[in-house]
Amino acid sequence: MRALKKEADERLLIEAAQQDPARFADLYECHFERVYAYIVRRVGDRTETEDLTSEVFHHALANLRRFEWRGIPFVAWLFRIAANLIADRWQRAGREVADGSELEAAVGPAEIEACDRRATIFRLVELLPVEQKRVLVLRFVEEKSIKEVAREIGKTEGAVKQLQFRGLTTLRARMEGADA
């Protein structure tokens, strides 16, 4: 029921964006994290991930009218675009892509689920209390030491460790809530 409901919501958004490109921002807002999660796992590098994410959404917008609703999730379509763009880059960079099978496998339901999970974590970070969020971003995105974080936010190292613990504990609890 919930899956069907999600589909209905998504379909409304896609149709709205097909009518009016300004509405594409809503679709982007819904899928940004998942697409980013998909790409970053394959590419690893932050700058390259950002470039590719940007390319995927621009490509999707340009081709949105060609997207037809056949029960395939919109995100699978985005992943296929991403997979192709990544493959293009690899070829340009002289890296080998043996055949297309790897890419086909890459957008299976298990992969979508894994990206969903990662994307949910990313979204939940946004909902954390400000201080917890700030510590997690400084610590994991900017990879700063406890000492550096403490100096930057003007708190003791003990307090930073505690905020780190609280932030991760909250995320975990909310992940369990989201999975339920």
């Binding site: 409901k5 209905a8 490109p21 982007y28 959404f57 946004e126 994991f140 990879e143 003990g158 809530g177």
Partner: protein, 496 residues
């Protein structure tokens, strides 16, 4: 050891440290994989590993702005700005909006205005309660929209003014809402009640009884907390004698044991306390002893006889010249060792012992010019409430206490706080580990016991007995606060 160290002695502190070490080694690895670690923190480290790939918020926003700027293809008519009045309406999220609509119709008399229903659910619906509109939608976690049920709470309450709050609450409760706070008259001119619905939202129902200005609300609030005299403490009723007997300060710890005689002996032997008074009573003994500049009341029953009152062991922070020596005396006098003397991070050397009656003694020598920190006394009561903030609030309202110091960790746990009540200082730290919540007992000498008694009740205390003249020259009353501490409120009216 009255103050809690932030980094030791409890399980969570160890976990915080373990987690940080695991995070450090995870960050040090190029592949970002989590190293082998304790099972309890493993899920946290796994999430931490995912966060290394967290997208940059500014990148997300920048890219979004590229799509928001796209020109609209369809043309729509935009009404002239003047024709539209801004209207605000809350939009509540539910797991099942249809169920919520039915519930609100029944419980709150809501009317359904519109429902946009798809075969899979309700993305949008509108109801009104009276003339107010409330929008409803269903949750969509992938789109970042969560219901109050999923989150577990909502920080937003909905306030609803009704003609008769009592009958409204009655009906709503029968329909399935939970009454958190039943209807009560409030000083701000409303009778109100708080209820929660089955979907995680809180509602405040109220009926207006009296319109008033904010100034009037302030005036009434002040009356509420200072008794019928309107904030002025009446003149002392002491017939020419000091309301606080010689040698006492405002707050005096009152220790009572089943065997009062032994406790009295213990205090004298362990702390070289001077016995100022000792009176045998029908049930046992009442004594008053002095340790340095501080008086203590010590009493209780006779050994082997059941003492008729409930016992409230206290915790006391006692400053002495040589903590090690006094600690040895206390053990020799029969105390149990809790913590051996050691140098504490907060600038004193201290030990903790427990006497046979269950009182905790923090025996301390301050490191500085004097063995006693400035502003403190030889004996300072130390409270261990579950939560310090509400107790501090009560002491402020009831006894005019002033907060001198407070040390809390970022999670809000108050490890140590000091408040001044008149010329006395009361310390406290939230209960933890072997320091369980300890409701204590105090004697409080004040200029007007009757006024302070009323004020304590207004601040939320319960009466144990009303003010009455006692044969020993005090007029006294007794109250208990919601934390279980007992306060004898007394005015010394004549020397006997």
């Amino acid at each position: 050891m009255p103050k809690r160290s932030l980094n030791q002695g409890n399980n969570e502190a160890r976990k915080i440290e373990q987690l940080n070490q695991a995070v450090d080694s995870m960050l040090a690895r190029k592949d970002g994989k989590a190293p082998k670690i304790a099972a309890a923190i493993e899920p946290l480290v796994r999430i931490a590993a995912e966060l290394r790939n967290l997208p940059n918020a500014s990148f997300k926003a920048r890219l979004k702005s590229e799509f928001e700027g796209k020109k609209k293809m369809a043309t729509i008519t935009v009404p002239a700005p003047a024709a539209v009045q801004p209207v605000a309406a809350p939009r509540l999220t539910f797991k099942d909006a249809a169920k919520a609509i039915e519930f609100y119709k029944h419980a709150l008399g809501a009317k359904e205005i519109s429902r946009f229903e798809t075969p899979m659910g309700i993305p949008h619906a509108e109801i009104t309660i009276g003339e107010s509109t409330i929008l409803l939608t269903e949750e969509w976690p992938e789109g970042g929209r969560f219901s109050a049920e999923t989150i577990g709470q909502s920080p937003v309450w909905i306030s609803l003014q009704v003609a008769d709050v009592d009958s409204f609450v009655d009906h709503a409760a029968k329909a399935g809402m939970t009454v958190v706070r039943p209807p009560a008259d409030q000083f701000y001119g409303r009778r109100d009640a708080t209820l929660t619905d089955p979907f995680g939202y809180t509602w405040a129902f109220n009926t207006l009884k009296e319109e008033m200005s904010v100034e009037e609300m302030h005036r009434r609030m002040k009356n509420l907390t200072t008794g019928p005299e309107g904030g002025r403490m009446p003149q002392p009723k002491s017939g020419g004698v000091s309301p606080v007997p010689r040698g006492f300060r405002m707050v005096t710890p009152y220790l009572v044991a089943e065997d009062g005689f032994s406790l009295l002996e213990f205090v004298k032997q362990a702390f070289a306390a001077e016995e100022m008074m000792k009176a045998e009573t029908a049930t046992g003994v009442h004594g008053e002893v002095r340790i340095g500049d501080s008086m203590l009341m010590v009493g209780g029953g006779k050994a082997g006889q059941k003492f008729p009152a409930t016992l409230h062991p206290n915790a006391l922070h006692v400053y002495v010249k040589d903590a090690d020596a006094v600690y040895k005396n206390a053990l020799a006098a029969g105390a149990t060792l809790i913590d051996e003397p050691r140098d504490q991070e907060y600038g004193e050397r201290s030990a903790t012992v427990k006497d046979a009656a269950g009182n905790f003694w923090y025996i301390a020598t301050h490191k500085g010019e004097s063995y006693m920190p400035e502003g403190l006394h030889n004996v300072n009561p130390y409270l261990h409430p579950l939560r310090a903030e509400p107790l501090i609030g009560f002491l402020k309202r009831a006894f005019d206490a002033q907060e001198i110091a407070k040390y809390a960790s970022p999670d809000g746990v108050v490890h140590h706080a000091q408040v001044r009540i008149g010329d006395s200082v009361v310390e406290m730290g939230e209960a933890h580990g072997k320091y369980e919540p300890m409701p204590a007992m105090f004697y409080l000498y004040v200029p007007d016991c009757d006024a302070l008694y009323r004020r304590a009740l207004a601040a939320g205390a319960k009466s144990l007995h009303e003010p009455k003249d006692q044969p020993y020259g005090d007029r006294s009353a007794a109250v208990t606060d919601s934390f279980g501490n007992i306060w004898y409120v007394a005015t010394h009216v004549k020397d006997v």
